[in-house]
Symmetry: C2
Subunit: 401 residues, 2 copies
Amino acid sequence: MCKVAVMGYGTIGSGVVEVLTTNKAVIAERTGEEVEVKYVLDLRDFPGSPVEKLLVKDYKVIVDDPEVEVVVETMGGVKPAYQFVKECLENGKNVCTSNKELVAAHGPELLQIARDKNVNFLFEASVGGGIPIIRPLTQCLTADVIEEITGILNGTTNFILTKMRDEGADFETVLKEAQELGYAERNPEADVEGYDACRKIAILTSLAYGKQVDYNDIYTEGITKITVEDFKYADSIGATIKLVGTGKMTDGKISAMVTPVMIKAGHPLYTVDDVFNGIYVRGNMLGDSLFYGKGAGKLPTASAVAADVVEAVRNRHNNVPIIWSSDKQHVTDYKDVVNSFFVRAKDTSFDEITKIFGEVTKVDSLVDGETAFTTGKMTEGEFEDKYAKLANAVTRIRLAF
Amino acid sequence: MCKVAVMGYGTIGSGVVEVLTTNKAVIAERTGEEVEVKYVLDLRDFPGSPVEKLLVKDYKVIVDDPEVEVVVETMGGVKPAYQFVKECLENGKNVCTSNKELVAAHGPELLQIARDKNVNFLFEASVGGGIPIIRPLTQCLTADVIEEITGILNGTTNFILTKMRDEGADFETVLKEAQELGYAERNPEADVEGYDACRKIAILTSLAYGKQVDYNDIYTEGITKITVEDFKYADSIGATIKLVGTGKMTDGKISAMVTPVMIKAGHPLYTVDDVFNGIYVRGNMLGDSLFYGKGAGKLPTASAVAADVVEAVRNRHNNVPIIWSSDKQHVTDYKDVVNSFFVRAKDTSFDEITKIFGEVTKVDSLVDGETAFTTGKMTEGEFEDKYAKLANAVTRIRLAF
């Protein structure tokens, strides 16, 4: 028998209790013992709910109970989750969390405490919802030098972009619809500005290279400026537009970015639509691989947290190595990152464009008075300088090919 | 420092040595120590090769050397690999293998010896080549009841089917081309008759449900009868044809099959082309997920074996649980498995067809004198009876939708 406490009985937390209850038998088979929820921490009351009698309002009850060996943290946010999790680990409890803000901000420190106490700090659900990606990265792709990780990491924006493409509707209209369906928050900033994807790619890049990538160092651009016309242009060159987070190693240097990109048919991420997430990983031996599934939602995410609980129960007196030191990972200044670009400009002749950009590939204009083209590879800095010289630039989108 | 021996210096074995050598630094970081190949077992000589001085011809040298803690088995086949692996495990060595025949035939027994000796028997590369699927199944999707696993598990047949579709070429022509390119063996039976996929789905289904699925119990059909016309019909209904292995739980009963199926656009496996493999897993909480990558090839497969070596080095005195008992898993007789079907028949009126099959969905004929249709769900047995009544049946292909 192993006793578990769940901190935070919101969407994910109640999902974890549901998974542990519904799949009790199969989980007991796989851990070799019963797994039982002893406490649920929440400031709210849930009269009539199945956890009513397990509710506690003081986290110290959990921290101080030696019978609790595994703690699930599904409160979200850094405060007070950080303090609660830290005290649990320091008291020799394993912690499983879905909290990407916490992991991105304090991952290495919490992993070190877990190591020191010979317990585990696990966070499979913090990236990619139900998709197994953290454990595959830390326990499966361990013989490869990771050359690139590129992921569609945010279900809300992928839902919005897919709908914009399929229905020819503009960003504001689709955002409103997504909000009505509950796929987007009332304050959608974290999703649509790319901040959520930024924390997730910070975590993945840190794990790929073993050092702490500060998400503040990651150049991040959201999808609010993407238009229906951009999708038409993308379609005309056999591509679509996705918001991706990418971490790469080029000549031994690490770069990371979150931006909308044009992805061509044939790329593994091209068909990742709606609220699904997809994470593409390229290893120097493995080549291409893709992990695909539901990146959000109550039960898929809770399934990943509950799988962490299984891993924690199996290894509750044995730290499973996750290499992520607190040493700062130097991230290449985005101006030195090499990309290629799709560009739209008004009232500009192709001659003027080639004078500024040199050789480019013309894209048939789909808007009166516009010239469109794609560039070859150049640094972001070089591109910015050239783009600034275009008197009537409309927009530019990076190419993921 | 951890010493490794490699048994079998063929394509995969030499690949493993290459991965361990090329990525020595990153592997040492991830295991916390140097990993060194001490012996290579092969009956052949490799004059001038980097392993020349490591070659031994007697496996006992490896079994009896206490310094060797991890053994890689990449000989293939059951004999003599079974005996060598068994003795290594009994002598307290961890074993990592890419050998699906060995794993399908003796997995539970070898896992039990590893458990008894507190070492590990690992076989990530036996299914899906470089794609992480064994560890995700045994260590990540552990909180879910697995409802279905369906995989494109054989790169050779997927290459052939993709080429038949894209080039409109017939099976024999494409097979010959695949043989010339080295993608198919001179004796292609194991691939094109589905035997290879059968062993792989036997392994995956065993792991999903924890008991031994005998691959002899799995109804298996290859791709030799698939024609160019079949692809045209598939295309006309928005589908393509893939060889899949599938393991399912329906009302608590386990079924498993290997057959060509028509898969519609939108299914995660639809876009898995060429030599790539894709494994679709549906969990009762997780929903849909897909694992995609290179299912064969020297370095991708060797990368998976080398990742097992990393796992073995990290846990060489600690058995990582893999639940797969030797209890026989009852597999539903294929005649009781429910499927739907695409059917072609010559010189048969639609009236005759509906008299036999009841309500069906007509598919526009693409061949003179033919009638084509898809059926609703029925058992394989029921379908066989009805199909036998069609005097001039041409072919039938199961639908994966």
